[in-house]
Symmetry: C2
Subunit: 266 residues, 2 copies
């Protein structure tokens, strides 16, 4: 018999993406959202694997509501971008198997092939192994880590990178530069940055706000960014070219020491 | 008779790029640098178009040295990333034709086709038109503007974008995240950002320091970025999700209002 999946919040973009994915894997998928006939509690009762795909601030409330209805041998998993809070919620409200899941791609991805999915083992091994195998057989790169380590890395990979793109575009808007001028006078580097920002701003602002606010590791990351900005400005305000060169070369040695390519810049 | 070009500073990466470019256009190119047999003054005396391709802080000194040796009917041009300072130097030391030039690409570009070159008319029309036509016939997109407007736009296109990439990588280094982890847990957005930074850091730190320090419009741009960082942090520190969403949506409306695509994010 096919494994039965319950998708709670299946009308969201990522929920919908995983509905199609699980269905394509030959699984039976039940969807519950605010406007579906079946309630989250009802589909949770019927499933082998219950997938919570709701906005980060709602995870705890939904988990608390559905947990008493899950079968003891079922697994509970989420799809959110932060892991510490949601995993604590899942582990404390449900005594069965728990897997934290974070797909590192957006709903625009055509297939899962080559995409990375992070899994955080919560409790139990049976459904964890099942999910890992399912994803890997479909072509995904699965990375296994703890919730704490996940959040520490995502504070950089998502928190810092979204933050800098948002700050950059805010500053450009503040300066009153016309979009047409930006296009006409773009360097290859600027074009790429501006297009990344365009992609970010084309998606749900609430998701990006959540990622900034809900990851406890973000505070340290943003403090590091604030310090970096202040350090660079220190040398610029003093017109200290040597200091600025040393600072840039310090980062280069720490990170890109092996690079010698003279790539297209601008 | 072919137009004769003198390249002052032709051993630098961009000087060398333009040596190959001008030669490929059938022009005769004389190169002078610190280690060449002919001095800058000697080649300047022989040329129809004298191209100064030296680091930004050296432009003034070199222009002052060679200007008395140029033929009155010759043109003087530069290739630097800022325009106000270098153009003032060229116009005040040389009474003939002057063209400010900024190729918006790096020495890694294979050809000039599709690349943007900014021209700032300084004095005279003959050589300006000649250069514009030469570049356009070779496939470049030529944008004509004033030195002030160029610098205002480059404070965003180069100043801000380099600044944010440098600050991002400094912060990552500060946080002590291992490069291997960044690779394993990268989202598509982070990969692209990190690769842009890698490309920036693979080039000459002095050039990037100069671009930060020599463009007078950078102060306002960096102040705007500083304000943006403070504004976003204000909402994050107060865990104010609504404020953060409004801020992101404000930038979106100002800039990307027409975008509705749900692109691949992460």
């Amino acid at each position: 018999m096919a494994v039965k999946i319950a998708l709670i919040g299946g009308r969201g973009q990522m929920g919908h993406w995983f509905q199609r994915f699980f269905t394509a894997q030959g699984l039976e998928v039940l969807v519950a959202d605010v406007d579906t006939r079946q309630t989250p509690e009802e589909v949770a009762r019927l499933a082998d694997v219950v997938v919570v795909s709701v906005p980060i601030p709602k995870v705890s409330e939904i988990v608390r509501a559905i947990a008493p209805h899950l079968r003891p041998e079922a697994a509970l998993m989420d799809l959110t971008s932060v892991k510490q809070g949601p995993m604590t919620a899942m582990l404390s409200h449900f005594p069965g198997e728990v897997v934290g899941t974070h797909p590192l791609f957006g709903p625009g991805a055509k297939t899962i092939t080559g995409q990375t999915v992070v899994l955080c083992p919560g409790r139990g091994e049976r459904w964890f192994s099942w999910l890992k195998e399912l994803l890997e057989n479909a072509g995904a790169r699965v990375k296994v880590t703890t919730a704490t380590e996940h959040d520490r890395l995502m504070a950089v990979v998502q928190g810092l990178s979204h933050f800098t793109l948002i700050a950059l575009e805010m500053a450009i808007r503040e300066l009153g530069v016309a979009p047409k001028d930006l296009e006409d006078f773009a360097t290859p580097t600027f074009s790429t940055l501006h297009n990344l920002a365009r992609r970010l701003f084309s998606q749900d602002a609430k998701l990006y706000a959540c990622i900034q606010l809900q990851n406890p590791a973000n505070r340290a990351a943003l403090r590091a960014l604030e310090d970096s900005v202040a350090d660079i400005l220190y040398f610029i305000q003093r017109q200290n070219a040597d200091g600025l060169v040393k600072l840039i070369e310090g980062v280069k040695e720490g990170f890109f020491a092996e690079d010698n390519d003279k790539a297209e810049g601008g």
